[in-house]
Symmetry: C2
Subunit: 385 residues, 2 copies
């Protein structure tokens, strides 16, 4: 084994999606040995990574074998089953985040219970198994309410709004039939959605990014403005402190994204993710240390980098596929029209509604940036001709 | 073949060094299909690239085969022999830069002759085959003079300073014995060295970067300050225009680096390189579009990105290997000491004097930045304990 291999750590990421792809990109600069466990050679990360293990990124045998050759294993999604995580840890594998921390990102009931213990502000919620539970909850909060599958939900999947007992019944019946644990939450009258990302290393060092505004559409993060315009310093600091406290209390290693509702009475914790997150893609250009580099530094217990921003505002817009798969010819026009717009492609086949990339613009006027990012995304999607 | 493959271009880079590695990193964001022709799986780019062809990156058969499957072929060095380039072009391969343009970067005599035709300011020079030629040249310019191998020189290799006829004799004799075409140049009394990078696309679009100051040591680019401190706007614009004229006149596609001597009477052209260049590494963080992304955009005839800077100054210092191969433990200290310093590792085994990475720092005070970059490089090399 060469000197190189003896001295720089080997990190493996489970999952071959775009988060893995962009983490690999950051790892090239860091000089670490990055590898990915991907289901298919055409996976976003597998297309560009120099060290790809093919296998089931949720399966016991494949994840175990993958962990064996790596100093540290981390994840681009939360869907590795708990018994697989346990097996890897029992075999001496170093998971970051670890099984216990990940449990709070995998299971919304466990997360809500823990948030309650920490007295972190949350929407009112309840675990439910019958329609009666739901309707009695709704009597307290009013309709509509939000029903959530406690496990396996992401990107708006496993979340249903119900405006009446009739609407709730369909969800409750299906969840019972499929044995999915269910919970109900009040529909928060939020003024906007925010997110905070914090990196935490095993040493306990933390680096926290500015609070960002996120615009969701159809349950998918659509646009991000960093930092959140017009947020007072007090509120921003408060939200950052909340994220840091959660990271410490849950023993997170790596990136933690805390999605928040902003209300007139303060913020409420909506969701947690323990990995690089769509709300942090702006940081590739917009911050001194991108979330992807920071995640690697954190899981490898390297000193963290500065999360300082590079511009007054950075705006990110997701790029969704449209009807026409030929994005390339439109790509040329977007590049020609605005030489400062950054388009990131994930190497994915174009399908309507699929996240195939994102767009970043930096500058001083967030309204102008948002307009330019939206323009580029709409044009690439094929909405504007 | 998927929609994706039909629409995004395939670009191959000949050579598996750090320039290829960092070009691959930039290509991930662009979404292009990047592949590399590398001699060895442990080559800097081969370690991280998802599509690696192994072969002789100067050999006829391997370069031909590599070009066959790519829309565009580009280079991370100038050492592919002219007959190989010709064969690829004859077979319909698209080389960018093309064989003819590359000839001016491969052959210093051809370059100097062409610069003369363009009336670009150059040091006095002459092609020489005998010691008499050298001494008669030195009678005009005075000793010392600089002897250069017209071909295959890079990074200070193939360049010899001679202070006397006796010293020149050794070089002339060896060049004659090895059949190396030789030239002589005056030793320019420069105040400092500068460099300009310009990207040119087949369409003829150009994007020019700020003029930078380069500090050479032992014939190797050691440090870069972008932009060059204290350079008047007139001089800077003049140097940029010179670089653009050269790019157009030589029909360059991709990046062109023009290395310059600054003298009290103006600038003189020292060397040309037609690829991403050490003098442009600062642009990864320091410019809106890095030289690596820009090179890909240019060779693919995509609209070019903005070369605007992200900070008043960006300083780059090369990281050379020292006696102790264990850079990793020192890496931690550098990261901890200065969370804003960016270290880029090339994945190479540590050997004394070998370029194993570089360091970038951005900010307002170039003296402070230079000190921090030097500190980090010296510490990583093992000079400071």
């Amino acid at each position: 084994m060469s000197e190189r291999n003896r001295t720089l750590p080997r990190v493996g990421m489970v999952g071959g999606g775009q988060l893995s792809r962009m983490t690999h990109q950051a790892g090239i600069g860091l000089g670490v040995h990055f590898s990915v466990l991907a289901a298919d050679p055409s996976d976003s990360a597998a297309l560009v990574c120099g060290d790809v293990a093919l296998g089931d990124d949720r399966g016991l045998e494949d994840v175990l074998a993958f962990a064996e050759d790596r100093d540290v294993v981390t994840f681009d999604h939360e869907h590795v089953p708990e018994h697989v995580l346990s097996a890897v840890e029992s075999a001496g594998g170093l998971l970051r985040p670890g099984r216990e921390a990940l449990g709070f990102a995998q299971d919304k009931l466990r997360m809500r219970t823990r948030m309650g213990e920490l007295e972190a502000p949350c929407p009112r919620w309840r675990a439910v198994t019958t329609l009666d539970h739901v309707t009695s909850f709704a009597e307290e909060t009013g309709w509509p309410i939000v029903l959530k599958a406690a496990r396996e939900g992401y990107d708006g999947k496993g979340v249903w709004m119900a405006g009446s007992a009739e609407e709730a019944r369909r969800v409750v019946d299906r969840a019972a039939a499929e044995d999915v644990p269910l919970m109900v939450e009040e529909k928060v009258a939020f003024s906007r959605e925010l997110a905070v990302q914090v990196a935490r290393s095993p040493h306990g060092q933390v680096a926290v990014y500015p609070v960002v505004e996120t615009v969701q559409r159809d349950g998918i993060c659509h646009e991000v403005i960093a930092p959140a315009p017009g947020l007072s310093e007090d509120k921003a600091t408060g939200a950052q402190q909340l994220a840091v406290e959660i990271a410490h209390a849950l023993g997170v290693t790596g990136l933690l994204a805390v999605e928040l509702f902003e209300t007139p009475d303060g913020v409420l914790v909506n969701e947690l993710a323990m990995r690089p997150h769509n709300s942090g893609h702006w940081s590739i250009e917009g911050a001194h240390t991108s979330q992807f580099e920071q995640h690697l530094r954190a899981v490898l217990d390297l000193p963290l980098g500065s999360p300082r921003t590079n511009a007054p505002f950075t705006v990110m817009a997701n790029l969704l596929g449209g009807e026409d798969p030929d994005v390339y010819s439109r790509y040329l026009h977007v590049m020609a029209k605005d030489p400062e717009v950054k388009v990131h492609f994930y190497g994915k086949d174009v399908r309507p509604g699929r996240k195939i990339g994102h767009i970043t613009v930096m500058g001083e006027d967030h309204r102008d940036l948002l307009e330019r990012a939206r323009d580029a995304a709409a044009y690439l999607r094929g909405d504007q001709q």
